[in-house]
């Protein structure tokens, strides 16, 4: 190839360089809308200008022909790309289907093929040669038939693209000035080139300026896209936004006729564009006459409207704005309609939730403020009525003991009704809820569904049709039922069920709390009312609480006593060891019981009987002491007086009997001496008189002795003198004395000692002897024939027994009860006949009791009697000395 320098080639080569730079620049930013096509357009322009520049610079024909043909790669693509760009830019992309593109590309491709092979057929160039007429040798061609066909075709393509862009420029997209100029330049330049060429105004007639024109056109578009954001703010997007937006847009002319409305508006207002356009607003917005009048006069407004009912309910936000021209005249009214149903529903749910929480909070406040169950019922009723439609309402509680359900609070038809009781087992709605522990929700009781559960609570003249029952549960146990009911069907929702369950929880807790506190109050009242003083201290003895009786007892008020120790009451009458023993006892967790002399606030001493008990916490540690005090000052005084009186009585008796005994002894002694003839022999009559005196004196002596014993026993003045003794020896001594008497009466007398009886026991030998002598004396006295047997035995390891059996008169069963009473004998005549003191058995019984033993009697009239004294067996630790 041979080239020669010619300045005419320079503009084209420079344009090629510009196009090349543009290709690179645009390609790097090909993400921008339309950039790819623009890059290809620039590339085509580059090929065209470069080819043309080199054709001009070509020195020979062959070179020029080669570059002329090379240009055709650009020539056939530029118009097509120009059209594609303009379609894309004006958002007519949808026309750019693959099929359309292929069809459009057919002629350029054919043209290119024909251009490359034109020598063969002359359809592009019928003849060509180098012409050197002008300042530069150029390739002069005579165009063939196809060339002209393609020329028209390419003009058509460019024209179409130009028309699209011009139309777009004339529509009211409101482009920025820079954008508009860039577009205009890009569109005008190719035609300017064409015009110059056609009108023969080309400064250098031999040169075709078209490739330059397209280069400049592409440059203008590049500037427009990248500097004025031409494609970013494509008006097509704006229109599609309005079309696609969810908000409805209705445009009215100043007279109030609908000019335009987007699909969203058509849907929201249930109007087709065909029906709506041209109609007056009043026809469309009949449902909201007040809005209409406002909107016809106002230029700006904002409102919310509601349509439909229930689930179909819709909420819309309307915004009216006025478009004005430059002079301030009204151009149009634009009404935007936004569906805010979702937002509204959320808002409503939120406000319901808030109201619900507020009501629940109020309820919890109300029921926290009261311990009166009635007030709890009323508060709950108010809460339920606020949170759900309520015609009838009840609270029922389970009475475990009676196995009943009691409707403690019934409210229906605006008034309170008397509660009913029904067995828990009865077929009832409440019973069902209590048994299952589950809520019950009857949506519509028209068909009497609830009848399958038995009794309908509000089944008076007008039965409720919506029923909601929730169990009142406490630690998993159903303690009652809470129910809301309505006369209309299908009133309640799952939300209401949830609310009622929540309320039921609160009610259960509140009722339990009220019950607990009431029972606590009852206990507190009982403690307050207690006659005994009650003191609660902590572990160290600091007083925490006292009841009113304490104040009465001690004179100290609760305020004066609390935070002090009971040492406040110390009288100084007890040794430190006494208090030490008390503390040792209670700190060991044992109950201390005893009497204590304390000092009242006014200084007076008093005696209290006190019992102190330790309270343990959950860790079994002592944390409180409870002392219960009783004022026994008077009791103690009375007791002391009684004891003193008794002591005096015993003293008196002892003295009297002692003083009686001495003269009695003298009488007895002298009489005996008289009787035995010490003072000389007596006549028979004298002897019998002496015998009577003797007998009476002995009786009197016995009486005096036993009276003394009885008196002492009664006064509890007898103290047992326990010491080791040998029972065998004791029995032997008694037998010696008593056998004389049996011998006199001709009776037998036997004694036996069981071999297992320990030889030495501990006991009051003198008293034991006295008891035995009494029993044996009685036995001898009441036995006419036969004998008396005395037996010591050891019936078990812990007892020993003294048994006195006779073969005498016996004692009738009915007498068993009173024979131990003083001065009682089986019958009065016997007392005379046998002349006992009537005190013997009474003394024996009293002594037996004193020794911790028992006395039993086995007897049958005429078959003798057996008295058995059973005593605790105390074996001496060592043998007698």
């Amino acid at each position: 190839m041979q080239f020669q320098f010619t300045p005419y080639a320079l503009p084209f080569l420079a344009a090629a360089v510009v196009a090349g730079v543009m290709v690179i620049y645009i390609w790097r930013r090909r993400n921008t809308r339309g950039a790819t096509v623009l890059a290809l357009l620039s590339l085509a322009a580059l090929i065209w200008t470069l080819g043309y520049g080199l054709e001009i610079a070509g020195a020979d024909l062959a070179t020029k022909v080669f570059w002329a043909k090379f240009q055709y790669f650009g020539i056939v693509t530029v118009p097509l790309l120009w059209l594609i760009f303009s379609l894309q830019y004006t958002s007519h992309d949808k026309w750019l289907s693959r099929r359309n593109l292929l069809l459009l590309a057919v002629i350029p491709v054919v043209t290119l093929v024909l251009a490359l092979t034109t020598e063969a057929h002359g359809l592009i160039w019928s003849e060509y040669h180098v012409e050197t007429l002008g300042p530069v040798p150029v390739l002069a061609v005579t165009h063939g038939l196809w060339f002209w066909m393609y020329w028209f075709y390419s003009q058509a393509l460019v024209l179409s693209g130009t028309i699209f862009i011009l139309r777009f420029l004339l529509s009211p997209p409101g482009l920025y000035r820079g954008q508009a100029i860039a577009l205009l330049v890009a569109v005008v330049i190719p035609w300017l080139g064409n015009a110059l060429y056609v009108l023969g105004l080309n400064p250098i007639p031999q040169l075709d300026l078209t490739p330059l024109a397209f280069t400049f056109s592409a440059a203008a578009l590049t500037v427009g896209i990248f500097y004025f954001h031409l494609t970013d703010l494509a008006p097509v997007a704006r229109e599609s936004v309005v079309e696609a937006m969810n908000d409805g847009v209705v445009v009215f002319d100043p007279q109030g006729r609908i000019v335009d409305l987007n699909p969203a508006a058509q849907k929201l207002l249930s109007l087709s564009a065909a029906r709506a356009v041209g109609r007056h607003a009043s026809e469309i917005f009949q449902a909201w006459p007040d809005l209409l009048t406002r909107y016809l006069t106002a230029s700006e407004a904002r409102d919310e409207i509601t349509t439909g009912e229930g689930e179909q309910r819709g909420h819309y936000e309307l915004q009216l704005s006025t478009l004005r021209d430059r002079r301030g005249r009204t151009n149009a009214h634009v009404l935007t309609v936004r569906d805010i149903s979702e937002r509204k529903r959320a808002e409503e749910a939120l406000s319901r939730q808030t109201a619900r929480l507020a009501t629940l909070y109020q309820l919890s406040q109300d029921i926290a403020a009261t311990l009166d169950t009635e007030q709890v019922y009323v508060a709950v009723q108010h809460a339920v009525e606020q949170l759900m439609p309520t015609d009838a309402f009840f609270i029922a509680l389970v009475d475990d003991k009676q196995q009943e359900i009691q409707h403690v609070y019934l409210f229906d038809r605006g008034q309170r009704w008397v509660g009913k009781r029904q067995p828990l087992s009865a077929q009832s709605l409440s019973g069902h809820v209590v048994r299952t522990g589950e809520p019950l929700w009857i949506k519509d009781d028209a068909d009497g569904t609830s009848h399958s559960f038995g009794v309908v609570m509000f089944g008076a003249a007008e039965p409720t049709r919506s029923l909601l029952l929730a169990p009142l549960k406490l630690s998993g146990k159903t303690i009652g039922v809470l129910s809301a009911q309505h006369y209309a069907p299908n009133v309640y929702t799952t939300e209401h069920v949830q609310i009622l369950l929540t309320l039921a929880n609160q009610v259960a807790i509140a009722l339990e709390r009220a019950r607990l506190i009431q029972s606590l109050r009852l206990q507190a009242a009982a403690l307050d009312a207690a006659a005994d003083a009650i003191v609660i201290t902590d572990r160290t003895g600091i007083i925490q609480w006292v009841n009113p009786a304490f104040t009465q007892l001690t004179g100290y008020t609760a305020a004066e006593a609390i935070d002090h120790t009971p040492a406040l009451l110390k009288s100084g009458q007890h040794e430190a060891a006494f208090y030490q023993q008390l503390w040792n006892t209670i700190l060991a967790g044992e109950v201390w019981e005893g009497e204590m002399v304390n000092r009242r606030k006014d200084g007076r001493l008093y005696v209290e009987r006190q019992s102190i008990t330790a309270l343990r916490d959950e860790h079994d540690q002592i944390f409180r002491f409870i002392a219960i005090k009783q004022d026994i000052t008077e009791l103690v005084q009375a007791r002391d007086q009684a004891l003193e009186a008794s002591r005096l009585k015993s003293q008196l008796l002892a003295r009297v009997s002692h003083e009686l005994r001495t003269p009695l002894g003298a009488i007895l002694g002298y009489t005996e001496l008289l009787e035995d003839g010490t003072y000389g022999p007596l006549a028979r009559q004298q002897q019998s008189v002496i015998a009577e005196i003797m007998d009476s004196t002995r009786h009197l002596t016995d009486l005096v002795n036993e009276l003394l014993d009885e008196a002492q026993l009664e006064a509890r003045a007898v103290k047992l003198q326990n010491a080791p003794f040998a029972p065998a020896e004791m029995l032997h001594k008694i037998a010696t004395t008593m056998s004389v008497l049996t011998l006199n009466k001709g009776l037998s007398f036997h004694t036996t000692i069981a071999p297992d009886l320990p030889p030495v026991l501990v006991g009051d030998e003198a008293r034991l002897r006295q008891m035995l002598v009494n029993l044996i004396g009685n036995a001898i006295k009441f036995t006419a024939a036969g004998g008396v047997q005395v037996r010591f035995s050891c019936p078990d390891r812990e007892h020993w027994a003294m048994e006195v059996a006779d073969t005498g008169a016996g004692i009738p069963a009915e007498a068993f009860l009173y024979i131990y009473e003083p001065f009682r004998q089986v019958d009065g005549s016997m007392t005379r006949e046998h002349r006992g003191t009537g005190l013997g058995l009474s003394i024996v019984k009293a002594l037996t009791n004193l020794m911790g033993g028992t006395i039993t009697l086995q007897s049958e009239v005429d078959h003798g009697s057996t008295f058995t004294i059973t005593l605790p067996l105390i074996v001496a630790a060592e043998a007698l000395p």
């Binding site: 002892a654 009997s657 002692h658 005994r661 001495t662 003269p663 009695l664 002894g665 003298a666 007895l668 002694g669 002298y670 005996e672 001496l673 035995d676 003839g677 010490t678 003072y679 002995r698 002596t701 002795n705 003394l708 003198q721 010696t736 004389v740 003198a766």
Partner: protein, 139 residues
Amino acid sequence: MTTPLAFIIEDDPKLSSIYSTVLQQAGYVTEIIRRGDEARTRLSNTAPDLILLDVHLPYVSGAELLQQIRADSRTAHTPVIVLTADIYIAKTMDLEGRADHVLVKSFGVSQLRSLLTREYPGGPPVDTTAPAPLPPDNP
């Protein structure tokens, strides 16, 4: 064989007279002492063969006398029969352990007699036919 001597230490003249009669019948020579202090004096220079001792005595009590009797080697083993109206008084005064016998008033003559016969068979034979002394005059 000398006649055994019995001290009757008893403040009541009638009772002492009766005891004296019974003891004389039993073969004793008797000496009646009415006051504790006198008894103490007599005991310090004479050791009787038998002592009847009342608990309630003026000036020196029966308990004190018994202690003295047991403490004195001459009378440590002399039989002592304690006479009391209340055995408990006797017990608390620790008489029983030291006395040979305790007779609770009002005991009968027969009781004293059988005690003497039973416990002191070696004593003088009882001569119930011997002339009895007359009861003393009532003061």
